[in-house]
Symmetry: C2
Subunit: 339 residues, 2 copies
């Protein structure tokens, strides 16, 4: 069953050539005669020769492999981002190792720490750990491993590229839109108060309220603990209090779905009693009852851009200048925010 492996040695002996000649021929070196090249290539193809990637990696300290580290994979944003990442990576000849941290900062650290061993050439990451806790990332930098952040980023990392959407502006205009639709009491559900997007979006929300002369009510800024039970209880309690919000702006689609469930359970009418707007890449947003108004991120493009930056850092380090790339989101108005 287990055939003898085809390696350079084998090819060389079959062709009565030296290993180094075969190696050069396969990489189309100009040192080698056209005739020899052809003989080598033909036999290699015939025997389905595949170079051992680890031998090459060991020699060259390059693995042609990148890691993508994401907090979760249920959120459609990450699904499309991963799709963009892997398409771009494969197109450029890179392999993609996937790590899902399940919103667990300790696990994220663990994963990142083990990245320093040369398994990957670089890392594309959307953070789950607080922005002020980036020691583990520092270690990567010190090892010379390029990192590209997307979505949930660490701004402090001066020499890493950062790909995001216009979080502040989107949250601002989303909130303004809710106000235009008649909302006076808008709650905001943020994914975390220690993560870039949480902070940026909250700022946009606050500024929009201020600009409209509406006071910010701290008790209506809900902070997720990334725990379904907790988040459900938090949102439920907020929506059921007297003088409840008439608008809810959620930062991730999971919370919008929780809100739907709560509203059904307690017969809160959307958009009559509560208008709902969420950052979301859900393909079913338009089919929900009521259809969900969304701020939709260009997730696929963000993933692609992240890999492009990473590969630039890997392959043209001299020409690489870390960039902050923004790709705008789109506000899609649907029934959940209708007047």
């Amino acid at each position: 069953m287990n055939m003898e492996p085809i390696n350079l040695k084998k090819l060389a002996s079959l062709l009565h050539l030296s290993i180094s000649t075969v190696s050069k021929a396969l990489r189309d070196s100009h040192e080698i005669s056209a005739d020899t090249k052809k003989r080598v290539m033909d036999l290699a193809r015939e025997l389905n020769y595949e170079p051992n990637p680890y031998a090459g990696s060991l020699r060259k300290f390059k693995s042609k492999t990148i890691a993508v580290i994401v907090p979760d994979i249920i959120n459609n944003f990450f699904i499309f981002a991963i799709k963009g990442i892997q398409e771009m990576a494969h197109a450029r000849g890179y392999h993609v190792l996937i790590y899902i941290t399940n919103e667990n900062p300790e696990y994220e650290k663990d994963v990142v720490r083990h990245m320093t061993n040369g398994r990957v050439d670089g890392v594309v990451i959307s953070l789950t750990s607080p922005i002020d806790d980036t020691e583990h990332l520092q270690a990567l930098q010190e090892k010379g491993l390029p990192i590209v952040f997307f979505d949930r980023v660490a701004e402090a990392f001066g020499n890493s590229s950062i790909i995001t959407t216009n979080n502040y502006e989107s949250a601002y205009s989303g909130t303004r839109y809710l106000i235009e639709q008649g909302c006076k009491r808008i709650a905001h559900c943020q994914v975390s108060d220690k993560i870039s997007i949480g902070i940026d979006r909250l700022q946009g929300y606050k500024k929009a309220l201020e600009d409209s002369g509406i006071a910010v009510r701290p008790e209506w800024i809900l902070t997720s603990r990334k725990d379904y039970m907790h988040d459900t209880a938090l949102i439920e309690q907020t929506l059921l209090q007297k003088d409840a919000p008439d608008g809810l702006f959620t930062s991730v689609e999971t919370h919008a779905l929780i809100a739907y469930d709560i509203c059904r359970k307690h017969q809160i009418d959307i958009p009559g009693q509560l208008k709902l707007l969420s950052f979301s890449n859900m393909p079913t947003a338009h089919l929900l009852k009521p259809s969900l108004s969304t701020i939709t991120q260009p997730a696929f493009e963000i993933g692609q851009a992240a890999v492009q930056q990473l590969i630039l850092a890997l392959e043209k380090p001299a020409r690489y200048v870390p960039e902050k790339i923004n790709i705008d989101s789109i506000l899609v108005k649907r029934e959940s925010t209708a007047k």
Copy 2:
């Protein structure tokens, strides 16, 4: 920036020990004194020593890496399956390379062919290529690389484990359920007529019709070309013909969503004029308008089981017997099939 790498040689010279002693100490060999072990371990920890995985892989012909190859990642089934795969793999100390073939058989072949080079120890795959076209998989087997199939499988591969749900029975009982709900003219939309799940589910559908004395109408067996435009046109045309179906049973959630869009566009009432049932793992099924009745696969568990089988094959080849594992789906009745 780029610190000198820490390797065994470095540790050895720092400790005035030989490389092999250090190597053994780190792997807690009984040959080494407790004292030396402690010295070695302490320094390794202090310097954040991380063994070079490729050096080890080169020596041991084991990469502790598996590949997961899936046709797409939009379908929620695959998302949950990937989650199960990666969780189980990481728990067992394996890394996961991800390949999305975008339903392109040629690309799948390409990917699979390049798996023979030792980059991965084994492969978990859900096929996009026709069941009778498995030459590329044969090559893997011959190289001694274990393969585990899940969902879209190649039954012919006698010595590979296969993890599926009870496709035939689920399709049978789903179709029976539509009949019980009053449907007399049920169309079936299959993902492919050359893929295991397509065939199994179609059989279940046909048998259910036969058992109820309803004639199978070939023109109501719709076969996807995995092309959005084509599939939309096909379904639309079927739903708009006179004497149109009063029930539609789709094999993947994408087609159910297409059906929703078509019904909205042409004001076909679900479930009044058309009852809709689909295999699906959509988290929003219960929130759609109308809510979607689904046959939901235990995707996460299927992914986990696949990796468990693969690791068994890798680590206990002597004890490994390829298995056909079935994990039942659940029929969830919702509004889209109401009487």
